[in-house]
Every structure is written in structure tokens, then in C-alpha cells.
Chain length 389, copies 2
């Protein structure tokens, strides 16, 4: 298996991008990544696109060939793939691109993610998001992702004494980080009071506990490690990956306060990377709801089970804490174009490991991790990255 | 790169399967494939699902985790991926599963494809199928796949003198083969007259020039070649694969009577396989319309450009011809559950190479090929297979 490096990254600002189409935001991020990588478009062998539901959001399936075409690549006929796994699609695209390079089949491979969600309106967008839960046993009875995550939050509060304020502390931290990210959807800080007083979506989660609907795209460029320095001097190596699934319906889990898919994907990725949890200096994790980040940092073993709330409140996961979690602002403040998430996380980790994260830079970052999940944790993808320069 | 074998295959009968759900047909095919492979479910490392539009057909995205869950695998948390590329999704799933095994990351990997299309009614199903064409420049103006393929057919008739009867001969041949396939949707022969007199869908294509809407699933089990004989004695090796894209809109092509994606994917696959076109004894190709098969056999270089019509009429592609094309009955008679197509083709080739194809057996088959395309040829995937026993 060949070693694989990320040699270029690019993203759009996330938000309500009403003046650009799906294909335009995909290309915007892609061109930035190619320029960053010093790679010419003619060198691209294959393109992987993470996308959740372009079929429903913009009435367009087959978006992998679409993006390659509009990027001007049609004449060289690159291999193109679309990966979907709810919120984990970007992570699956990155894992697939990794395998393509690692296998030796292709050399220069682009992995991107894009979603255009805001054109359909809020109610329809939330209905579409629900189609990653179990249609026959959850969605058809009216379950939404917010409702399912609210049940998780309520049980976590009951089992571990997690407080409403601790949930809110996740949003406050991630907005503080997002305020330092020029590509974040929300570049403003939030007070704890604002989060606590926001309208309730599904008790105990208020609207400021929920990541927004977003448009956006993110792209990374991969090649074999031994080819990376031909392109630039700042390669970041993908040292581990783990992919794991679980029951699609939340009610079938042995315990709804632990995401077993995250636990297993995390173990697999760290085992492959030969990296201990204590070596991870920063992590981008799936904070589609504030409770999700608390579960993620527990299930990835950054903190003891049940201690995610107090740890957040005490600053353990701040930029200057023991482990910086969601330095980009996370889904909560950077934004949540679903299929782009896993790639956007990789973009942030690469910037951090290169020391290019400006006001939100984690000092001396050498090892970072990304974590995405699909549905209410039916799919989880974890990658571990190490700087090589 | 490790050599990769297919050690088990399974499929459902294709057709209007109104008494079973998406998840049920996926599992039915999967269990048959595992039994055929002598593989226990607990040995599965990863699951790849080709699917075009479950989001629209059954309001369910995230079908990879769904199928793994309902197959009883949730407790072992396999890695799960959904691949989409219009009609090429099954081929992309197979290519991705190949890379996962070839890279050394995973050993026992399942690649399946499934689609449940008939519950939404014919008009809506055709509308959904159109979402693999270019939404902004084709679909929004009313272009359907039948209309686009009709233009291709008309131009092919003009450029090469292809006749209406030659188009119809594809349907007659594929129904003759389908009549010998117990899992085909249509197990009855058609006369040339019946095809010629069928109601017109888009001139010159009649309803019997078009593959049907179908429900169905197909599954193959992959492992490293050097592990294959632990499971059974009839491994089939995947010796080559090629994936290629093209402009998504038909009007942007340099020539609409040649599918460049097929030309390029075919060359890439044969180059990797170190196999000459003349060594291919049988091929399953993408005959969603009769004209599509004529293009495919030309663009894969089985016959000279422009000679696909006469060759079909003369019996070159019959079961006992120079090269047996669509021995299963193809999309036309076996059926067309879109995301399952690429996998179903592999199932047929494996059965042929094992000598298990009964009444439709191609004598002495040792090397076979599969070809799927997405949209009107914006994606093409070609695999080459060789028997190893």
C-alpha cells in the first residue's frame, strides 16, 4: 500500500450562496485546491465527489461527471465517482480517493465535497436531511434529526449529569473559532446567554445548538507521498483511516449516548496510523448539534465517557486547550453543506498542520484528526493526518 | 497492487417486485452471494452499494448503512459506501471494491447494486431517470433519456446507414437470451415485427427498443486472489478496469454517435488487463436502448465503427457468434434496476466463466467484459474478467 499525501486544499466560503450554482461552487473550490497544489488540471486521473442529495436539492444526480465537465476536464475523461453516506459522504470520498492512490491505480486524485441546500427553503431542506434516517421506522413517523439528537441529549443529561450550559458551551466555543475563519458562514461570537435563550427546536436543543443549512464546497488534492514534493514543500500525510457503520435507526442501538460507529472508526484509524489518542493535537469533529460534539470527543476517547460536557466547559477543547476541537468553527459556525463536511474538515486540518491557520492556528500542530458521521451515527469516518515537512 | 477475485455472486429476479422493499431485495441478493462464496457474514470488512436515486424513488438516502444494518451486520460495524453515477453506479461500486481489496486495506468486500423504481409510477420514474442528464441545459427543457438516445439513433442511421430493422435486431437477440435466464424480467422472445410495430416513444425508438423500469438487486463478493481458494474452487479474477467521464450534456460532444467515455474506459481496462479485444468471448454492455448496444459494441472495438447494426443483424453478437453480447438478456430483457446494472453484469460474466449459465452458456468462456454507462454516456465503467480454474 503506497503512502498518500494531501498536496493542495481549497474551499468556498460556506453560507447562503444564492448567486452561484452547485457546479460553480464545486469548481471554485477545485481551482483553489489545484492552484494550492501546483497541479495542472491535465494531471488529474480521477475525481471523487462527496454529496448527500443533489438529486433532491437541485434535481441533479450524476454530479461527479457534471463537476468534472464544468471544470473543463471532459476532454481528458477522468474517472469520476460520487460518494454518499448522509453527512459522512465527504469522508467517504476522501477514504475512496486514498484507496485509489494507495492501491497504485491512480496518482493524482481530487477529492471534493459539495452541497447546495438553501435554494429549496428551510422546511423542505430539513425534510430532505431526514432521508438519511430510517425512512420506514423513523422518518415516516415524523422523526427529524433535531428530534433524534434531542433524545440523545436528554439521555446524556440523565445518565451523566450533562447540563444545558455545557451543551451551549460547544456553540460558544465553535463560534469563537468561526469568528477567526474568513470562510466560515458565521464569523461572529455568541454569548452563553444567547444560546440558552434561543428558540427551542427540540427540547433541550435550541436553534443555536443546531448547525445551519449551508451551500458550499471543499476540495483536496492527493498523490503518492513519494511524488508529493514534486508539487510543493508542504505535504500532509494521511496516516490512518477508519470507516464504520451501525444500525440506521437510533432506537436499535444498545445505548444512544455512545455512537459505536465513531468508537470503532476512531480505533481503526488510530490503529492504522499507529498514533495514540494523546498525540492528537487538533480535531475537526461532527458537531451538527452541540450534543454531537460532546459525544464525538467522548467516543474518540479524547475525554472520559460522560465528561464531554464538563471538559468543554473547562476549556479542554479550546484552541489553546489540551486538544483543539473544531478550530475551523465546525459545522456549527463554519457551516454545514452536508456532503462537503468531511472534505472541509480535511482542508482545515491541512491548513493547521502547515501552520497556515492564522488567528485560529493551533501552536505546533503536527498530528490532526477528522470525524464525520451520517444520519444519527449510522456511518462514521475518521482520518488521521501528520505533517511531513 | 494485489490481485482481486470474485468468489461469490447472487441476484434477485428483476421486475416489478411490489411485495418486497428496497432493503429486502438487497439482502436477498446478498445472502445468495455469501452462500455462493462460502463466506460468513462475520468475515465482511466492507460493503459498497451502487444506487442511483433511492432518495427520490423511496425517499431514503444513506442506503449503504441501511442495507448493512438489515443484513444483520450492524454489530460488526463494516465500512459502508454508496456509489452513484447514474446508470454506472454499480460499475463504480465494483471498481471501488476492487481498489479497497487491491490496496490491501480490506480483504473480504461485498459490492452490490440495488434499485427500487416501480413504486413511484412510470411518469415519475422517467422524470427521476432524467436527473442524470444535465439539469440546467437538458432536463429543464424537457429532454428525456429516450429523446436524447433517439437523436443519437437518428444520427447513426444518417451517418452509417443503420436501419430500423438493425436496431430492432438488438431487442430480438436480447429477448432470445433473456428467455433463457430464470432471473430475467422478460423471459419471452420477441419477433422483429413486434419491435417494429410497437408504439413509438421517441422516433425512431419504439417502446420495445427501450429497457424497462425494474426493481432488483445483485451482489458479488471480492477477496484477494491468494485468499480466494480458501473459500471455493471457482474464483474469477478481475484483470482490468477502466473508468472514464465525458461532458454531461449530449450536445457538448464532438460526435454524438461515439461515446468517448466508453472508448476510453474500454482502452484503459484492456490495457490494464493486457487483453486484446479479440480475446473477449462475451460481454455484458449497456443496452438501455437498442442504439446503445450498437454504439457500445462499436466503441469497445468489437466491430468497426458504423458496423454495429449489420453485425447484429448477421448474428455476430449472438450466443454462438464471434462475441456473445448480453447473454443475460441485457438491460433490455433481464431488466434495468439502474444502480444494480453494473453488478448484475458481473454476476452474469462470473456465471459464464464458471460454466454455470445453463441454456445461455457461451462455450469455453474464459475472458469476459462488462460495460455500463451513466446519463447519455457521461460516465462509463468497463471491467475485464478471467476464469482462474
Amino acid at each position: 500500500m503506497r503512502d498518500v499525501a494531501i498536496i493542495g486544499v481549497g474551499d468556498t466560503r460556506f453560507g447562503e450562496i444564492w448567486d452561484k450554482s452547485f457546479r460553480e461552487i464545486g469548481i471554485e473550490a477545485g481551482l483553489k485546491a489545484l492552484e494550492d497544489a501546483n497541479v495542472g488540471a491535465e494531471q488529474i486521473d480521477a475525481l471523487y465527489v462527496g454529496n448527500m442529495s443533489a438529486g433532491k436539492f437541485i434535481d441533479q444526480e450524476h454530479v461527479s461527471a457534471l463537476v468534472a465537465d464544468y471544470a473543463g476536464l471532459a476532454n481528458q475523461h477522468p474517472a469520476t465517482f460520487r460518494l454518499e453516506g448522509g453527512g459522512a459522504g465527504g469522508g467517504l470520498a476522501l477514504a475512496s480517493a486514498f484507496m485509489a492512490v494507495a492501491s497504485g491505480l491512480w496518482d493524482v486524485v481530487v477529492a471534493g465535497g459539495a452541497e447546495k441546500m438553501t435554494d429549496v427553503g428551510e422546511e423542505e431542506a430539513n425534510r430532505i436531511l431526514s432521508s438519511t434516517a430510517d425512512q420506514e421506522w423513523e422518518t415516516v413517523f415524523g422523526a427529524t434529526h433535531a428530534a433524534l439528537h434531542a433524545m440523545v441529549a436528554r439521555r446524556h443529561m440523565y445518565d451523566f449529569g450533562t447540563t444545558r450550559e455545557q451543551l451551549a458551551a460547544v456553540a460558544v466555543k465553535n463560534h469563537r473559532n468561526g469568528a477567526k475563519n474568513p470562510n466560515a458562514q458565521y464569523q461572529r461570537e455568541l454569548t452563553l446567554e444567547a444560546v440558552l435563550e434561543a428558540p427551542v427546536v427540540a427540547d433541550p436543543l435550541g436553534v443555536l445548538d443546531c448547525a445551519p443549512l449551508s451551500d458550499g464546497a471543499a476540495v483536496v488534492v492527493l498523490c503518492p507521498m513519494d511524488m508529493a514534493r514534486k508539487f510543493n514543500d508542504t505535504p500532509v500525510r494521511i496516516v490512518g483511516l477508519g470507516v464504520a457503520s451501525d444500525t440506521i435507526a437510533l432506537h436499535d442501538r444498545r445505548d444512544i449516548t455512545t455512537m459505536d460507529s465513531t468508537v470503532v472508526a476512531g480505533k481503526r484509524a488510530l490503529h492504522m496510523a499507529k498514533v495514540g489518542t494523546d498525540e492528537i493535537q487538533l480535531a475537526e469533529v461532527h458537531d451538527n448539534y452541540t450534543i454531537s460534539e460532546i459525544l464525538a470527543i467522548e467516543d474518540l476517547r479524547f475525554v472520559e465517557k460522560g465528561k464531554g460536557g464538563p471538559a468543554t466547559e473547562e476549556g479542554v477543547t479550546e484552541l489553546d486547550g489540551d486538544i483543539a476541537v473544531n478550530p475551523s468553527g465546525g459545522l456549527k459556525a463554519r457551516g454545514q453543506p452536508v456532503g462537503a463536511t468531511g472534505i472541509a474538515q480535511a482542508v482545515e486540518v491541512v491548513r493547521q498542520l502547515r501552520g497556515e491557520a492564522d488567528a485560529r492556528q493551533v501552536d505546533g500542530a503536527e498530528v490532526g484528526l477528522t470525524h464525520v458521521q451520517g444520519g444519527t451515527g449510522a456511518t462514521a469516518v475518521v482520518h488521521v493526518f501528520r505533517r511531513e515537512n
